[in-house]
Symmetry: C2
Amino acid sequence: MSDRTKASRAYADLVRRIQTMRPHEMLPREVDLADELGISRTTLRQVLTTLTAGGSIYSVRGTGTFVSEAKIDKGGALSGFSEDMRARGMTPGSRLLHAGPELADGPVAEHLGLRAGAVVYRIERLRLANEIPMCIEEVRLPAEYFVDLLTHDVSAGLYDLLKSVYSVEVAVARQTITSSVATAAEAELLGIAAGEPVMNVQRTSQDARGRSIEWARSRYRGDRYEFTLTATRNGLV
Amino acid sequence: MSDRTKASRAYADLVRRIQTMRPHEMLPREVDLADELGISRTTLRQVLTTLTAGGSIYSVRGTGTFVSEAKIDKGGALSGFSEDMRARGMTPGSRLLHAGPELADGPVAEHLGLRAGAVVYRIERLRLANEIPMCIEEVRLPAEYFVDLLTHDVSAGLYDLLKSVYSVEVAVARQTITSSVATAAEAELLGIAAGEPVMNVQRTSQDARGRSIEWARSRYRGDRYEFTLTATRNGLV
DNA sequence: AAGTGGTCTAGACCACCCT
DNA sequence: GGGTGGTCTAGACCACTTT
């Protein structure tokens, strides 16, 4: 959404323009469109590529570029709990269950790419949506990247904190989702009955340099949460 | 993987080159690299953008371009069951439970963007991995796009069929995952006990033109299946 | 000041679809 | 043959980091 470059400004212009058009309506030819937007065709094509990847438009070789039909709205799979809940129109909340340093044992060290015995921070929170318990979240972060992390407020909006204080942003995340039934302890925290379904989400995050910066395990109550994701076919490869 | 364009050939070359390098090792400067690969810097940058999006490399402004550290291998969220299972090293199988035309009722018509009462094909299959039941899959496809679909063998590899016979490919898919416990009927088909956890995956797929081409509901057994996905931060926006 | 990636351009040529 | 998107180029200039 940054309007620092011509391309991103043209992108915003074009998105607005597409919204006023009907599905399968044809866009002006690229040379003309570039002219209207005040950019070169090369820059325009960069913008069009992004829009195509996002499913807003499609082009047919030798024929033209068209507005796509239904818009599958993309859920931000890279967002954290707070952002995710706000996108769903709910108010996120948090109750801190634990926050402290510990030594990484085998599995944790492996997931984070650290040597066994390295220091990690473990933060465990009960996450709420509109005051209702939604999931139990357990996050581990390498202490070497986030010095004095616990002197800050980690009860909510952890990603904002990592970005603003440590200038670290998630670039790639891998999530594994499994289904199970709640144990007695989990059930009590989540306010459900033992034996009810829960979704387990394990997540490993890396920054742009490819360093693992987070390993998280969440247990969502299955009766109230649904996990949404959008996949797009890649270009070039 | 197509080597028809200079860019895709350079991409393949560069991937091979990166594999011989160590994490955080610096690549040659762009002008030189473009020269070595026999392409212009503009074309090279297109390739580098793809590699960056894929998490293979990262670049630091004013400094250089580097090989990323750990490689999170991307699971193809756009693949079908057969492809998915083969990627996990298992042999996919299928038992056809039902295949026939029907009239789209409200919810189905809505998901597929059809008028109520349009004809859709419903295909229900029990999907196996190494002969073991893995999920129950119910797919609905608009008959207007896939004329005489049922004269073909739909028991396995449906996506391959859609591509080879109808030249239709999935470009964007949206999936919603929820957790529940198996009903008696589901449990029997899946070979588990009623009350055990299952994962429900609902999926809407669109082709490049934005037409909804598939609506599917799957129920995976929670004890044997895990859902993996990789998310990457987008450029431009 | 020198070196690097980031943005943008004008224009050439190719591949394909239509009438 | 005329129109459209797809690929590729050489080069300019900017922004940032390092010495």
